[in-house]
């Protein structure tokens, strides 16, 4: 009889927990959707993803093909954003450039996020010498300004998209590692982690199944925001001539190559920059909204 009742209790509480989990997700989504700025950011991000995946749906011009007869055409119905010094359609270069930037931004954030989370989790979980070693490594990364680190890595490896991704990833590992380490430290002592120990769970299982899911909110927010900073950093490096090599349409490189003509043809520089700004702005709005939705305490 007694056993039966505990069993019932257990199944009951399990139900309530699953309902509770559901309710929390619903609540977060509800909070997010009420934030108009954040929804706007998300819609723009989705549109940019669409541009990145299906650029040919939005433009008929080839972004690389040169057409020297049409050099420096002003924005018109035929060429929405005008043409550049080689007669290439700037609108189509901006649309295709979206693919380059998204690719760099998303892949590099994924890489740095995974490495940073693993380093931060291990350092926070094991403490002691492990913590010290990993954190000194992070200190070294933090001591070099990101731009300079990126510049020198690309210079050492050579100009290409994969190398640019590597350079940008290394620079932002430190941020994740520190955020995760702090939240692991604060979760490590909780009762459910102790309970997991008592059931004989391995360290690996405890870190990835019990500790990390409870540190997700700051990681998600940090990742969304750093897509914006990474894309900006990538365009900055390309602007300096240390990023995406020449014919590939890339916003920073476009601004850089048309620098010489800004006195006479304003549209060459203006539109790629507007594209960078729109992308960064919408990711920032999206990330801000996510932070407010995931953790209402932080809302200001």
């Amino acid at each position: 009889m007694l056993m039966l009742s505990t069993k019932q209790d257990a199944s009951l509480s399990q139900d309530t927990i699953s309902i509770g989990g559901h309710g929390q997700a619903k609540e977060i989504i509800g909070r997010f959707l009420r934030n108009r700025a954040a929804v706007f950011g998300m819609v723009v991000v989705l549109f940019l993803l669409f541009c990145a995946i299906f650029p040919q749906a939005l433009t008929q011009y080839d972004p690389i093909e040169q057409n020297l007869r049409d050099r420096f055409a002003a924005p018109s119905a035929e060429h929405f954003f005008g043409t550049d010094e080689y007669g290439r359609d700037i609108f189509s270069r901006v649309i295709y450039g979206c693919r380059t930037s998204m690719e760099i931004g998303l892949i590099s954030v994924a890489i740095s996020c995974i490495i940073g989370v693993v380093i931060g989790a291990i350092a926070g979980f094991y403490g002691g010498i492990t913590d010290n070693l990993f954190m000194r490594f992070i200190d070294v990364l933090m001591a070099i300004p990101n731009t300079l680190l990126g510049i020198s890595i690309v210079a050492a490896l050579g100009n290409s998209i994969p190398n640019l991704i590597i350079a940008l990833s290394i620079g932002s590992i430190a941020g994740y590692a520190r955020v995760v380490r702090v939240s692991v430290l604060s979760t490590k002592g909780t009762e459910y982690v102790e309970a997991a120990y008592a059931t004989g769970a391995s360290d690996f299982r405890i870190i990835f199944k019990y500790i990390l899911p409870n540190c997700l909110a700051p990681i998600i927010v940090q990742a969304t925001m750093s897509v914006a900073t990474t894309i900006m950093a990538a365009t900055g490096l390309s602007f300096l001539g240390l990023g995406v090599p020449a014919p590939t349409p890339e916003w920073g490189a476009m601004a850089s190559s048309s620098r010489a003509y800004i006195r006479d043809y304003w549209w060459l520089v203006t539109f790629p920059g507007l594209a960078i700004m729109t992308t960064a702005f919408s990711f920032n709005l999206f990330g801000d909204g996510l932070r407010d939705a995931l953790d209402p305490k932080l809302k200001s």
Partner: protein, 324 residues
């Protein structure tokens, strides 16, 4: 306090060795031989071998690294390949420009950012609050090189008010300093706003109001003084960022600062210059961070008292400093 500063400086040593190792190995493994670059295509194999021997380039990696560190500690970063001058001399001739540019930018960011942040927090959800928040959001989303170019188009090409490049008069500083300050201005404004909003809701602010204090005194004396700590942190980390971010701005405005020096060094494969430049910036950044922590301690009486009282608390505080 002195002990704490000393300890922090000691902790910088391994970090700096790490920085040196990273930059040194990156330049070591980067493609292209310095000898080819400097002696030109006409140089014979013997000339190159002689050059390598003279510059110690024929030795193994570790030997070269240790030699480099030993020299660097004595302030010798090697000879710049392009000008044949000591690297340290070139760095020191460029660094004050970057420092000055960053200082102007930082000053601008703090003054404007804090003012706007306070106004925004006091008039929460008003038109001016919403407006500054959107502008701040755009500010952190602006690629600095593009902002610089747009400002050049507007103020130099169209209006003709300000010069587009160089640094000969005070007018030349305005555009680059403003461009460099944008990111920090936005960050400072956002931090001031959120930290002021928190302070305004505290009990002591309500007490001050109940006492019949004027709005200005309540805001500036009671709320702001308590909201200032996180602002210092943001301003400090931002300043350290400026030194690195200056590379792009200096290129846009053709300013001979340390950032442009490093970028030019990379384009001409000038390894000693690049290594020395990055190491120098990293040391400067660490020292600035240390300075901020010290200022932090002086501004906050709670932290200050930890340093001046018993040893037990001292240990606790230094541990806290390593965590943050």
């Amino acid at each position: 306090m002195l002990r704490y500063i000393f300890k922090r400086i000691l902790m910088m040593i391994p970090v700096m060795i790490g920085v040196t190792l990273i930059t040194f190995s990156m330049m070591y493994f980067s493609p292209g031989e310095p000898a080819d670059y400097i002696l030109g295509e006409l140089a014979t194999e013997e000339d190159k071998a002689l050059f390598n021997e003279q510059n110690g380039l024929d030795k193994p990696f570790l030997v070269r690294f240790v030699n480099y560190v030993v020299d660097a500690v004595q302030g010798d970063f090697g000879i710049s390949y392009s000008t044949r001058q000591p690297v340290i001399k070139e760095i020191l001739s460029c660094f004050p420009t970057t420092m000055k540019l960053s200082l102007y930018a930082e000053l601008f960011a703090i003054v404007l950012g804090v003012t706007l942040g306070v106004v925004s927090a006091v008039r929460q959800y008003s038109f001016i609050d919403n407006f500054t928040r959107i502008v701040a959001m755009i500010g952190v989303s602006l690629p600095s090189f593009w902002e610089g170019l747009m400002l050049i188009i507007l103020f130099s090409v169209i209006l003709g008010w300000l010069p587009p490049s160089g640094l000969t008069s005070w007018k030349h500083w305005i555009l680059p300093a403003f461009t460099l300050s944008t990111w920090g201005l936005a960050a400072c404004m956002r931090m001031t706003r959120s930290s002021m909003l928190e302070a305004i809701r505290e009990d002591y602010v309500r007490t001050a109001r109940a006492k019949g204090q004027t709005q200005f005194v309540v805001i500036m004396k009671h709320a702001f003084r308590n909201a200032v700590l996180p602002i210092i942190t943001v301003a400090g980390t931002d300043f350290a960022k400026l030194l690195g971010g200056a590379a792009v701005i200096e290129t846009v405005f053709s300013i001979n600062g340390i950032g442009k020096l490093i970028v030019d060094g990379i384009n001409t494969k000038n390894a000693p210059l690049v290594q020395g430049g990055i190491l120098f910036v990293a040391v400067a950044m660490s020292l600035i961070n240390l300075l901020i922590d010290v200022i932090y301690a002086f501004v906050d009486p709670r932290i200050r008292s930890q340093y001046s009282s018993g040893k037990r608390i001292k240990r606790k505080s230094s541990k806290k400093a390593t965590v943050s």
